[in-house]
Amino acid sequence: MIYVNDEPIPASAGATVADVLAGLDIDTARRGIAVAVDAEVVPRGAWETHAVGDEARVEIVHAVQGG
């Protein structure tokens, strides 16, 4: 299992951040999105290569009104 915003999702071997986003139907070209894996920010340029291992905790955030 990996945990995306606390929701458990079955882990798949060799999955990258981009795979996780695609699995959630999130358009990776969309602006105002950021991803952290195990509390470390994964830059957009590394989404295609950054592996998301079993038990990884993934945070996917986007822009909302505030402030």
Binding site: N5, L24, D25, I26, D27, R30, R31, G32, I33, A34, V35, A36, A39, V41, P43, R44, E59, I60, V61, H62, A63, V64, Q65, G66, G67
Partner: protein, 260 residues
């Protein structure tokens, strides 16, 4: 304060002394119209967990308006969480700027001074342009400037309270000593509060609820824009000193004397 049409933060010149918070607007169209009416060039945004179903267009609306984004760390209660949120914001919005908020109390949403200072120091070290939301404590404001913050953003009164500037004396002290821009953040309830902030020497005002939760947000954005401009002009014009007793503006000389 440098009285004039523009001011700058970290070398970035801004033509508008009104910063707009995007929180609380009922519809994106109202937000877009309020941005237009406010003349704001810098607007705040927040980060939250994504809802895959909601393909929101907030960023697109803001991009269409040509405004710069100022991500905040609203909702963070520790330096650690605020720093992590700022790093995510840097990635999401491709900006080093951050409105740093570290809250210490749920009911008042007042800043947590030690956590705020720790987070500010860490983020400055990481190359962020840090604009901290702080209390109206002049000593804390100085400490924040000392660790390298690009501005200080003291509150007038608690976020969303609309109570205006609760301690003008403290705000004056902050303005007097500051070597970085002072932006009044939080507490503005209506236009006159924004004018007072500028008359006291603030460089800019940030408004969210005062505009977004007004009965007519676009009209209030317009009003506060002019209120800020009026305050800047009045500050530059130099107000008369307060006095206890009257000082006649009409001369007594030449007053006709009437027979009994």
């Amino acid at each position: 304060m440098r009285v004039g049409a523009t001011f700058s933060i970290a070398g970035r010149e801004l033509g508008s002394r009104l910063l707009l918070g995007t929180g609380g607007f009922p519809r994106l169209q109202t937000l877009a119209d309020a941005i237009e009416a406010s003349g704001a060039e810098l607007v705040t945004v927040a980060l939250r967990r994504i809802d895959p179903a909601a393909q929101g267009s907030l960023v697109d609306v803001l991009a269409a308006k040509g405004v710069e984004l100022l991500p905040n760390t609203a909702g963070c209660f520790t330096a650690r969480d605020a720093v992590r949120t700022a790093r995510l914001a840097r990635e999401a919005f491709e900006t080093d700027w951050v409105k740093l908020e570290v809250i210490g109390d749920e009911r008042t949403l007042l800043p947590d001074a030690p956590e705020l200072l720790a987070a500010a120091e860490e983020l400055v070290d990481e190359g962020f342009v840090v604009l901290p939301y702080t209390t109206d404590d002049p000593v804390l404001a100085r400490r924040l400037e000392d660790v390298g913050c690009a501005a200080v953003m003291p509150l007038g009164s608690p976020i969303g309270s609309g109570m205006g500037i609760a301690n003008p004396a403290n705000l004056t002290l902050i303005v007097e000593q500051a070597g970085v821009p002072v932006i009044l953040d939080a507490g503005v309830g209506t236009a006159s509060d924004a004018t007072l902030a500028m008359e006291l020497g603030c460089d800019a005002v940030l408004c969210a609820s005062a505009i977004s939760r007004a009965a007519d947000p676009v009209a209030m954005a317009h009003a506060i824009r002019h209120a800020v401009a009026a305050g800047v002009l009045a500050r530059g014009a130099g107000r008369i000193p307060r006095r206890t007793y009257a000082r006649a503006s009409t001369p007594f000389e030449g007053l006709p004397e009437f027979a009994e």
